[in-house]
Protein backbone atom coordinates (compact mmCIF):
# COMPACT_ATOMS: atom_id res chain seq x y z
CA UNK A 1 0.00 0.00 0.00
CA UNK A 2 2.81 2.37 0.91
CA UNK A 3 6.23 1.92 -0.62
CA UNK A 4 8.91 4.37 0.38
CA UNK A 5 11.88 4.23 -1.93
CA UNK A 6 15.20 5.76 -0.87
CA UNK A 7 13.86 9.10 0.29
CA UNK A 8 16.45 11.80 0.89
CA UNK A 9 15.90 15.33 2.13
CA UNK A 10 18.63 17.92 2.46
CA UNK A 11 18.20 21.37 3.90
CA UNK A 12 21.22 23.05 2.37
CA UNK A 13 24.25 21.16 3.66
CA UNK A 14 22.24 19.55 6.45
CA UNK A 15 20.77 16.15 5.64
CA UNK A 16 17.53 15.66 7.56
CA UNK A 17 16.72 12.35 5.93
CA UNK A 18 19.62 10.41 4.47
CA UNK A 19 18.10 7.30 2.96
CA UNK A 20 14.81 5.84 4.06
CA UNK A 21 12.99 2.92 2.48
CA UNK A 22 10.21 0.80 3.90
CA UNK A 23 6.96 -0.79 2.88
CA UNK A 24 3.60 -1.02 4.55
CA UNK A 25 1.10 -3.70 3.60
CA UNK A 26 -2.65 -3.02 3.40
CA UNK A 27 -4.33 -3.14 6.78
CA UNK A 28 -1.08 -2.87 8.67
CA UNK A 29 -0.42 -0.39 11.47
CA UNK A 30 3.18 0.69 11.29
CA UNK A 31 4.83 2.31 14.28
CA UNK A 32 7.26 4.90 13.00
CA UNK A 33 9.80 5.45 15.74
CA UNK A 34 12.94 7.39 16.32
CA UNK A 35 14.49 9.92 18.66
CA UNK A 36 13.81 13.62 18.23
CA UNK A 37 15.40 14.94 15.07
CA UNK A 38 15.68 11.50 13.47
CA UNK A 39 13.68 12.65 10.45
CA UNK A 40 10.28 11.16 11.23
CA UNK A 41 8.25 14.27 10.57
CA UNK A 42 10.29 15.15 7.49
CA UNK A 43 9.70 11.66 6.06
CA UNK A 44 5.98 11.87 6.71
CA UNK A 45 5.82 15.29 5.14
CA UNK A 46 7.51 13.96 2.04
CA UNK A 47 5.15 10.99 1.77
CA UNK A 48 2.09 13.21 2.14
CA UNK A 49 3.31 15.76 -0.39
CA UNK A 50 3.95 18.67 1.95
CA UNK A 51 7.65 18.68 1.12
CA UNK A 52 9.28 17.63 -2.12
CA UNK A 53 12.06 15.09 -1.53
CA UNK A 54 15.60 15.91 -2.60
CA UNK A 55 15.77 12.48 -4.18
CA UNK A 56 13.96 9.17 -4.01
CA UNK A 57 10.22 8.71 -4.16
CA UNK A 58 7.29 6.88 -2.63
CA UNK A 59 4.21 5.22 -4.03
CA UNK A 60 0.84 5.10 -2.34
CA UNK A 61 -1.74 2.63 -3.58
CA UNK A 62 0.27 2.38 -6.80
CA UNK A 63 0.52 6.14 -7.40
CA UNK A 64 3.86 7.88 -7.37
CA UNK A 65 3.97 10.94 -5.10
CA UNK A 66 5.95 12.91 -7.65
CA UNK A 67 4.15 11.89 -10.83
CA UNK A 68 0.61 11.69 -9.53
CA UNK A 69 0.39 13.89 -6.46
CA UNK A 70 -3.34 14.55 -6.82
CA UNK A 71 -4.24 10.86 -6.88
CA UNK A 72 -2.03 10.29 -3.86
CA UNK A 73 -3.62 13.15 -1.98
CA UNK A 74 -7.09 11.74 -2.58
CA UNK A 75 -5.99 8.58 -0.81
CA UNK A 76 -4.28 9.94 2.27
CA UNK A 77 -5.30 11.51 5.50
CA UNK A 78 -2.57 13.30 7.40
CA UNK A 79 -2.48 14.59 10.91
CA UNK A 80 0.61 16.79 11.25
CA UNK A 81 2.39 17.61 14.51
CA UNK A 82 0.43 20.84 14.80
CA UNK A 83 -3.21 20.19 13.89
CA UNK A 84 -3.91 22.30 10.77
CA UNK A 85 -7.05 23.97 12.08
CA UNK A 86 -8.42 27.46 11.49
CA UNK A 87 -8.91 29.12 14.86
CA UNK A 88 -11.64 31.41 13.59
CA UNK A 89 -13.85 28.56 12.35
CA UNK A 90 -16.27 26.51 14.37
CA UNK A 91 -15.59 22.78 14.54
CA UNK A 92 -18.47 22.00 12.22
CA UNK A 93 -17.57 24.68 9.66
CA UNK A 94 -13.97 23.57 9.65
CA UNK A 95 -14.81 19.92 9.09
CA UNK A 96 -17.27 20.86 6.39
CA UNK A 97 -14.53 22.80 4.62
CA UNK A 98 -12.23 19.78 4.92
CA UNK A 99 -14.80 17.44 3.34
CA UNK A 100 -15.19 19.87 0.45
CA UNK A 101 -11.52 20.52 -0.12
CA UNK A 102 -10.77 16.79 0.05
CA UNK A 103 -13.37 16.26 -2.66
CA UNK A 104 -15.62 13.93 -0.73
CA UNK A 105 -18.59 13.30 -3.06
CA UNK A 106 -21.55 15.58 -2.22
CA UNK A 107 -23.87 12.74 -1.23
CA UNK A 108 -21.39 11.35 1.30
CA UNK A 109 -20.34 14.66 2.84
CA UNK A 110 -22.97 14.73 5.56
CA UNK A 111 -22.46 11.12 6.59
CA UNK A 112 -18.70 11.43 6.66
CA UNK A 113 -18.94 14.59 8.74
CA UNK A 114 -21.22 12.96 11.28
CA UNK A 115 -19.09 9.84 11.31
CA UNK A 116 -15.81 11.70 11.89
CA UNK A 117 -17.35 13.86 14.61
CA UNK A 118 -18.71 10.82 16.36
CA UNK A 119 -15.41 8.94 16.09
CA UNK A 120 -13.53 11.81 17.68
CA UNK A 121 -16.37 12.66 20.12
CA UNK A 122 -16.75 16.21 18.91
CA UNK A 123 -20.54 16.51 18.84
CA UNK A 124 -20.68 18.57 22.03
CA UNK A 125 -18.27 21.20 20.75
CA UNK A 126 -19.41 21.34 17.13
CA UNK A 127 -20.58 24.94 17.34
CA UNK A 128 -17.60 26.27 19.27
CA UNK A 129 -14.71 28.19 17.76
CA UNK A 130 -11.64 26.03 17.40
CA UNK A 131 -9.50 28.85 18.81
CA UNK A 132 -11.38 28.59 22.10
CA UNK A 133 -10.92 24.84 22.45
CA UNK A 134 -8.27 23.10 24.54
CA UNK A 135 -5.24 21.46 22.97
CA UNK A 136 -6.75 17.99 23.25
CA UNK A 137 -9.89 19.05 21.43
CA UNK A 138 -7.91 20.75 18.69
CA UNK A 139 -5.95 17.53 18.30
CA UNK A 140 -9.22 15.64 17.90
CA UNK A 141 -10.52 18.15 15.38
CA UNK A 142 -7.30 17.64 13.41
CA UNK A 143 -7.75 13.89 13.62
CA UNK A 144 -11.36 14.13 12.49
CA UNK A 145 -10.16 16.18 9.53
CA UNK A 146 -7.60 13.51 8.68
CA UNK A 147 -10.10 10.63 8.63
CA UNK A 148 -13.06 12.51 7.20
CA UNK A 149 -12.53 11.41 3.60
CA UNK A 150 -12.07 7.80 4.78
CA UNK A 151 -8.64 7.62 3.20
CA UNK A 152 -6.96 4.35 2.35
CA UNK A 153 -3.78 5.53 4.02
CA UNK A 154 -3.70 7.38 7.29
CA UNK A 155 -0.53 9.07 8.43
CA UNK A 156 -0.57 10.29 12.00
CA UNK A 157 2.20 12.33 13.58
CA UNK A 158 1.93 11.85 17.34
CA UNK A 159 -1.86 11.64 17.43
CA UNK A 160 -2.22 11.18 21.18
CA UNK A 161 -0.18 14.18 22.30
CA UNK A 162 -2.13 16.44 24.60
CA UNK A 163 -5.00 14.04 25.16
CA UNK A 164 -6.17 12.84 28.55
CA UNK A 165 -5.86 9.12 29.39
CA UNK A 166 -9.46 8.35 28.54
CA UNK A 167 -9.20 10.04 25.15
CA UNK A 168 -5.89 8.30 24.48
CA UNK A 169 -7.61 4.99 25.00
CA UNK A 170 -10.47 6.02 22.73
CA UNK A 171 -8.15 7.19 20.00
CA UNK A 172 -6.16 3.96 20.25
CA UNK A 173 -9.21 1.81 19.87
CA UNK A 174 -10.33 4.04 17.04
CA UNK A 175 -7.03 3.54 15.25
CA UNK A 176 -7.31 -0.22 15.67
CA UNK A 177 -10.83 -0.11 14.35
CA UNK A 178 -9.79 1.99 11.37
CA UNK A 179 -7.00 -0.42 10.49
CA UNK A 180 -9.61 -2.88 9.23
CA UNK A 181 -9.93 -0.92 6.04
CA UNK A 182 -7.13 1.62 6.30
CA UNK A 183 -3.38 1.38 6.28
CA UNK A 184 -1.90 3.41 9.08
CA UNK A 185 1.49 4.91 9.78
CA UNK A 186 1.79 6.13 13.32
CA UNK A 187 4.64 8.16 14.69
CA UNK A 188 4.92 8.40 18.43
CA UNK A 189 7.28 8.51 21.38
CA UNK A 190 5.04 6.41 23.56
CA UNK A 191 6.51 2.95 23.11
CA UNK A 192 3.82 1.00 24.99
CA UNK A 193 1.36 2.48 22.55
CA UNK A 194 3.31 0.94 19.71
CA UNK A 195 3.48 -2.51 21.32
CA UNK A 196 -0.25 -2.28 21.96
CA UNK A 197 -1.59 -1.30 18.58
CA UNK A 198 1.06 -1.68 15.88
CA UNK A 199 1.85 -4.82 13.92
CA UNK A 200 5.22 -3.63 12.83
CA UNK A 201 7.71 -0.94 13.72
CA UNK A 202 10.28 0.96 11.74
CA UNK A 203 12.91 2.66 13.84
CA UNK A 204 14.89 5.42 12.26
CA UNK A 205 17.92 7.17 13.63
CA UNK A 206 20.12 9.84 12.09
CA UNK A 207 18.02 9.91 8.92
CA UNK A 208 18.29 6.16 8.21
CA UNK A 209 16.25 3.06 8.97
CA UNK A 210 17.98 1.08 11.68
CA UNK A 211 15.35 -1.57 12.27
CA UNK A 212 12.22 -2.68 10.45
CA UNK A 213 10.54 -5.70 11.96
CA UNK A 214 7.31 -7.18 13.22
CA UNK A 215 6.64 -6.16 16.82
CA UNK A 216 6.47 -9.83 17.89
CA UNK A 217 9.91 -10.53 16.44
CA UNK A 218 11.35 -7.39 17.98
CA UNK A 219 10.13 -8.09 21.47
CA UNK A 220 11.00 -11.78 21.58
CA UNK A 221 13.97 -11.41 23.87
CA UNK A 222 13.74 -7.88 25.21
CA UNK A 223 11.15 -5.15 25.57
CA UNK A 224 10.57 -2.61 22.81
CA UNK A 225 12.02 0.08 24.99
CA UNK A 226 15.27 -1.81 25.42
CA UNK A 227 15.50 -2.45 21.69
CA UNK A 228 14.85 1.23 20.99
CA UNK A 229 17.37 2.58 23.51
CA UNK A 230 20.03 0.14 22.35
CA UNK A 231 19.59 1.14 18.70
CA UNK A 232 19.64 4.86 19.20
CA UNK A 233 22.52 4.93 21.67
CA UNK A 234 24.79 3.66 18.90
CA UNK A 235 26.64 6.37 17.07
CA UNK A 236 24.30 8.59 15.04
CA UNK A 237 26.42 8.16 11.93
CA UNK A 238 25.20 4.73 10.96
Amino acid sequence: MIKVDHLVKNYGPYAAVKDISFEVQPGEILGFLGPNGAGKTTTMRMITGVLPPTSGTATIDGFDILENPLEVKKRIGYLPETPPVYFDFTVQDYLKFVTEIKQVPKVEQKDNLAWAMEKCSLQDVRHRLIGNLSKGFRQRVGLAGAIINKPKVLILDEPTVGLDPKQIREIRSMIQELSQDHTIVLSTHILPEVSLICNRATIIHGGRVVLDEKIDEMTKTQSLEEVFIELISKDGEV
Binding site: T48, V50, E71, K73, K74, E81, T82, V98, I101, G145
Partner: protein, 261 residues
Protein backbone atom coordinates in the same frame (compact mmCIF):
# COMPACT_ATOMS: atom_id res chain seq x y z
CA UNK B 1 -13.38 24.42 -10.78
CA UNK B 2 -15.39 23.37 -7.76
CA UNK B 3 -12.17 23.26 -5.74
CA UNK B 4 -11.55 26.90 -6.57
CA UNK B 5 -15.09 27.80 -5.49
CA UNK B 6 -14.58 25.97 -2.19
CA UNK B 7 -11.40 27.98 -1.64
CA UNK B 8 -13.07 31.27 -2.57
CA UNK B 9 -15.91 30.57 -0.15
CA UNK B 10 -13.43 29.81 2.60
CA UNK B 11 -11.50 33.04 1.95
CA UNK B 12 -14.65 35.16 2.02
CA UNK B 13 -15.83 33.45 5.15
CA UNK B 14 -12.55 34.12 6.90
CA UNK B 15 -12.72 37.78 5.94
CA UNK B 16 -16.22 38.19 7.25
CA UNK B 17 -15.81 36.32 10.52
CA UNK B 18 -12.74 38.30 11.45
CA UNK B 19 -13.10 41.86 12.75
CA UNK B 20 -10.56 43.02 10.14
CA UNK B 21 -13.22 43.12 7.44
CA UNK B 22 -15.44 45.48 9.37
CA UNK B 23 -12.64 47.73 10.59
CA UNK B 24 -11.24 48.06 7.08
CA UNK B 25 -14.66 48.70 5.57
CA UNK B 26 -15.36 51.37 8.15
CA UNK B 27 -12.06 53.12 7.54
CA UNK B 28 -12.52 52.92 3.81
CA UNK B 29 -16.06 54.22 3.73
CA UNK B 30 -15.26 57.02 6.15
CA UNK B 31 -12.31 58.17 4.09
CA UNK B 32 -14.01 57.87 0.73
CA UNK B 33 -17.03 59.71 2.11
CA UNK B 34 -14.72 62.41 3.38
CA UNK B 35 -13.02 62.74 0.00
CA UNK B 36 -16.32 62.81 -1.81
CA UNK B 37 -17.54 65.52 0.50
CA UNK B 38 -14.44 67.74 0.23
CA UNK B 39 -14.37 67.47 -3.55
CA UNK B 40 -18.06 68.27 -3.68
CA UNK B 41 -17.59 71.29 -1.42
CA UNK B 42 -14.77 72.57 -3.57
CA UNK B 43 -16.93 72.19 -6.65
CA UNK B 44 -19.88 74.04 -5.20
CA UNK B 45 -17.58 76.81 -3.99
CA UNK B 46 -16.19 77.38 -7.47
CA UNK B 47 -19.58 76.89 -9.07
CA UNK B 48 -21.22 79.62 -6.97
CA UNK B 49 -18.36 81.98 -7.58
CA UNK B 50 -18.29 81.46 -11.33
CA UNK B 51 -22.03 81.72 -11.53
CA UNK B 52 -21.95 85.15 -9.90
CA UNK B 53 -19.19 86.20 -12.25
CA UNK B 54 -21.15 84.89 -15.23
CA UNK B 55 -24.15 86.96 -14.23
CA UNK B 56 -22.06 90.13 -14.39
CA UNK B 57 -20.42 89.28 -17.70
CA UNK B 58 -23.72 88.34 -19.33
CA UNK B 59 -22.50 84.99 -20.60
CA UNK B 60 -21.38 81.54 -19.67
CA UNK B 61 -17.81 82.71 -19.01
CA UNK B 62 -15.73 80.19 -17.14
CA UNK B 63 -18.79 78.36 -15.91
CA UNK B 64 -18.63 76.00 -18.87
CA UNK B 65 -15.11 75.02 -17.89
CA UNK B 66 -16.07 73.15 -14.75
CA UNK B 67 -18.08 70.00 -14.52
CA UNK B 68 -18.86 67.31 -11.99
CA UNK B 69 -16.93 64.63 -13.81
CA UNK B 70 -13.61 66.41 -13.71
CA UNK B 71 -13.98 68.23 -10.43
CA UNK B 72 -15.73 65.70 -8.26
CA UNK B 73 -15.89 62.21 -9.66
CA UNK B 74 -12.37 61.80 -11.04
CA UNK B 75 -10.57 63.27 -8.00
CA UNK B 76 -12.79 61.39 -5.55
CA UNK B 77 -12.09 58.13 -7.37
CA UNK B 78 -8.38 58.87 -7.40
CA UNK B 79 -8.48 59.52 -3.67
CA UNK B 80 -10.25 56.20 -3.18
CA UNK B 81 -7.47 54.46 -5.06
CA UNK B 82 -5.00 56.24 -2.82
CA UNK B 83 -6.73 54.81 0.25
CA UNK B 84 -6.45 51.35 -1.27
CA UNK B 85 -2.74 51.84 -1.51
CA UNK B 86 -2.68 51.58 2.29
CA UNK B 87 -5.54 49.18 2.79
CA UNK B 88 -4.71 46.42 0.31
CA UNK B 89 -1.42 45.49 2.02
CA UNK B 90 -3.28 45.32 5.34
CA UNK B 91 -6.01 43.09 3.98
CA UNK B 92 -3.67 40.84 2.05
CA UNK B 93 -0.89 40.43 4.60
CA UNK B 94 -2.41 37.43 6.30
CA UNK B 95 -3.48 35.61 3.15
CA UNK B 96 -0.72 33.04 2.80
CA UNK B 97 1.53 34.19 5.65
CA UNK B 98 -1.00 33.18 8.28
CA UNK B 99 -1.55 29.76 6.68
CA UNK B 100 2.16 29.15 6.88
CA UNK B 101 2.47 30.38 10.44
CA UNK B 102 -0.49 28.42 11.76
CA UNK B 103 0.59 25.37 9.73
CA UNK B 104 -2.83 25.19 8.12
CA UNK B 105 -1.02 25.11 4.80
CA UNK B 106 -0.32 21.45 5.60
CA UNK B 107 -4.02 20.73 5.25
CA UNK B 108 -4.13 22.47 1.88
CA UNK B 109 -0.90 20.88 0.71
CA UNK B 110 -2.16 17.39 1.49
CA UNK B 111 -5.53 18.00 -0.15
CA UNK B 112 -6.06 17.10 -3.79
CA UNK B 113 -5.56 20.53 -5.32
CA UNK B 114 -2.92 22.08 -7.51
CA UNK B 115 -0.90 25.17 -6.73
CA UNK B 116 -2.73 26.98 -9.53
CA UNK B 117 -6.10 26.23 -7.96
CA UNK B 118 -4.74 27.38 -4.63
CA UNK B 119 -3.57 30.70 -6.07
CA UNK B 120 -6.79 31.19 -8.01
CA UNK B 121 -8.87 30.57 -4.89
CA UNK B 122 -6.84 32.93 -2.72
CA UNK B 123 -6.66 35.59 -5.40
CA UNK B 124 -10.29 35.60 -6.46
CA UNK B 125 -11.55 35.35 -2.88
CA UNK B 126 -9.58 38.41 -1.79
CA UNK B 127 -10.44 40.27 -4.97
CA UNK B 128 -14.17 39.71 -4.49
CA UNK B 129 -13.96 40.84 -0.90
CA UNK B 130 -12.15 44.09 -1.71
CA UNK B 131 -14.41 44.76 -4.66
CA UNK B 132 -17.30 44.41 -2.24
CA UNK B 133 -15.88 47.27 -0.19
CA UNK B 134 -16.23 49.76 -3.03
CA UNK B 135 -19.83 48.80 -3.68
CA UNK B 136 -21.36 51.29 -1.18
CA UNK B 137 -19.50 54.18 -2.86
CA UNK B 138 -21.79 53.75 -5.84
CA UNK B 139 -24.33 55.59 -3.69
CA UNK B 140 -22.23 58.76 -3.94
CA UNK B 141 -22.36 58.62 -7.71
CA UNK B 142 -26.07 57.89 -7.51
CA UNK B 143 -26.55 61.12 -5.56
CA UNK B 144 -24.73 63.07 -8.24
CA UNK B 145 -26.85 61.54 -10.96
CA UNK B 146 -29.99 62.21 -8.96
CA UNK B 147 -29.31 65.91 -8.47
CA UNK B 148 -27.38 66.65 -11.61
CA UNK B 149 -26.38 65.06 -14.87
CA UNK B 150 -22.71 64.15 -15.07
CA UNK B 151 -21.44 61.98 -17.90
CA UNK B 152 -21.84 58.27 -17.27
CA UNK B 153 -18.88 57.07 -19.36
CA UNK B 154 -16.07 58.41 -17.17
CA UNK B 155 -17.78 57.03 -14.06
CA UNK B 156 -17.80 53.56 -15.57
CA UNK B 157 -14.21 53.69 -16.79
CA UNK B 158 -13.27 55.20 -13.44
CA UNK B 159 -14.73 52.28 -11.53
CA UNK B 160 -13.12 49.89 -13.99
CA UNK B 161 -9.83 51.64 -13.22
CA UNK B 162 -10.34 51.18 -9.50
CA UNK B 163 -11.20 47.52 -9.96
CA UNK B 164 -8.09 46.99 -12.08
CA UNK B 165 -5.98 48.76 -9.49
CA UNK B 166 -7.44 46.53 -6.77
CA UNK B 167 -6.79 43.47 -8.93
CA UNK B 168 -3.19 44.55 -9.38
CA UNK B 169 -2.78 45.40 -5.70
CA UNK B 170 -4.18 42.04 -4.61
CA UNK B 171 -1.67 40.22 -6.82
CA UNK B 172 1.17 42.16 -5.20
CA UNK B 173 -0.26 41.52 -1.74
CA UNK B 174 -0.63 37.82 -2.42
CA UNK B 175 2.94 37.58 -3.63
CA UNK B 176 4.26 39.46 -0.58
CA UNK B 177 2.25 37.20 1.69
CA UNK B 178 3.62 34.07 0.04
CA UNK B 179 7.16 35.12 0.85
CA UNK B 180 6.99 35.08 4.60
CA UNK B 181 5.26 33.78 7.70
CA UNK B 182 5.35 37.25 9.19
CA UNK B 183 2.31 39.37 8.41
CA UNK B 184 4.04 42.67 9.14
CA UNK B 185 6.83 41.90 6.69
CA UNK B 186 4.24 40.89 4.08
CA UNK B 187 2.36 44.16 4.56
CA UNK B 188 5.52 46.23 4.33
CA UNK B 189 6.70 44.49 1.16
CA UNK B 190 3.33 44.91 -0.52
CA UNK B 191 3.10 48.54 0.54
CA UNK B 192 6.59 49.41 -0.67
CA UNK B 193 6.05 47.74 -4.05
CA UNK B 194 2.70 49.45 -4.55
CA UNK B 195 3.95 52.82 -3.37
CA UNK B 196 6.94 52.57 -5.69
CA UNK B 197 4.69 51.83 -8.65
CA UNK B 198 2.42 54.64 -7.58
CA UNK B 199 5.01 57.39 -7.40
CA UNK B 200 7.55 56.32 -10.00
CA UNK B 201 5.97 58.58 -12.62
CA UNK B 202 7.18 61.61 -10.65
CA UNK B 203 10.53 61.00 -12.35
CA UNK B 204 8.92 62.22 -15.56
CA UNK B 205 10.18 65.77 -15.00
CA UNK B 206 13.58 64.79 -16.35
CA UNK B 207 12.62 63.87 -19.87
CA UNK B 208 14.28 62.25 -22.83
CA UNK B 209 15.85 59.29 -21.10
CA UNK B 210 14.73 55.83 -22.28
CA UNK B 211 15.23 54.39 -18.80
CA UNK B 212 12.91 56.99 -17.37
CA UNK B 213 10.32 56.36 -20.06
CA UNK B 214 10.31 52.69 -19.12
CA UNK B 215 9.91 53.49 -15.45
CA UNK B 216 7.11 55.88 -16.25
CA UNK B 217 5.36 53.18 -18.25
CA UNK B 218 5.55 50.94 -15.18
CA UNK B 219 3.75 53.51 -13.07
CA UNK B 220 0.23 52.57 -12.07
CA UNK B 221 -0.78 56.19 -11.79
CA UNK B 222 -0.13 56.92 -15.48
CA UNK B 223 -2.50 54.19 -16.60
CA UNK B 224 -5.01 54.88 -13.92
CA UNK B 225 -5.43 58.60 -14.57
CA UNK B 226 -6.31 57.86 -18.18
CA UNK B 227 -9.16 55.70 -17.04
CA UNK B 228 -10.33 58.08 -14.34
CA UNK B 229 -10.50 60.81 -16.97
CA UNK B 230 -12.74 58.59 -19.02
CA UNK B 231 -10.48 57.25 -21.72
CA UNK B 232 -10.35 53.52 -22.13
CA UNK B 233 -7.21 52.44 -23.93
CA UNK B 234 -6.16 48.87 -24.67
CA UNK B 235 -2.62 49.84 -23.67
CA UNK B 236 -3.81 50.46 -20.14
CA UNK B 237 -5.75 47.20 -20.07
CA UNK B 238 -2.70 45.32 -21.34
CA UNK B 239 -0.62 47.01 -18.66
CA UNK B 240 -2.93 45.93 -15.84
CA UNK B 241 -3.41 42.38 -17.10
CA UNK B 242 0.30 41.80 -17.59
CA UNK B 243 0.94 43.35 -14.18
CA UNK B 244 -1.46 40.92 -12.52
CA UNK B 245 -0.17 37.89 -14.41
CA UNK B 246 3.41 38.81 -13.57
CA UNK B 247 2.76 38.93 -9.84
CA UNK B 248 0.65 35.78 -9.87
CA UNK B 249 3.51 34.09 -11.70
CA UNK B 250 5.92 35.30 -8.99
CA UNK B 251 3.53 33.99 -6.34
CA UNK B 252 3.56 30.61 -8.01
CA UNK B 253 7.35 30.60 -8.13
CA UNK B 254 7.56 31.50 -4.48
CA UNK B 255 5.07 28.80 -3.51
CA UNK B 256 6.70 26.11 -5.63
CA UNK B 257 10.02 27.02 -4.05
CA UNK B 258 8.38 26.30 -0.70
CA UNK B 259 7.34 22.87 -1.90
CA UNK B 260 3.75 23.48 -3.07
CA UNK B 261 2.90 21.23 -5.96
Amino acid sequence: MSTIIVLIKKELKQFFISPIAYVVMMIYLTLSGFFFYTNMERFSFYYKRLKTMAQYSQGQGDLAMINLNEMVIAPALFNMVFVFLFIIPLIMMKSLAEEQRQKTDELLRTSPLTVNQMIAGKYLGSLLFIMGIILPTVIYQGLLFYFSSPELGPVITGYLGIILFIAAGVSVGLFASSLTENQIIAAVIAFVVLLFLFIINLLQVTEGNIFISVLTYLSVTEHLTNMLRGSLDTRDLVYFFSFILFFLFLTKQSMTAKGWR
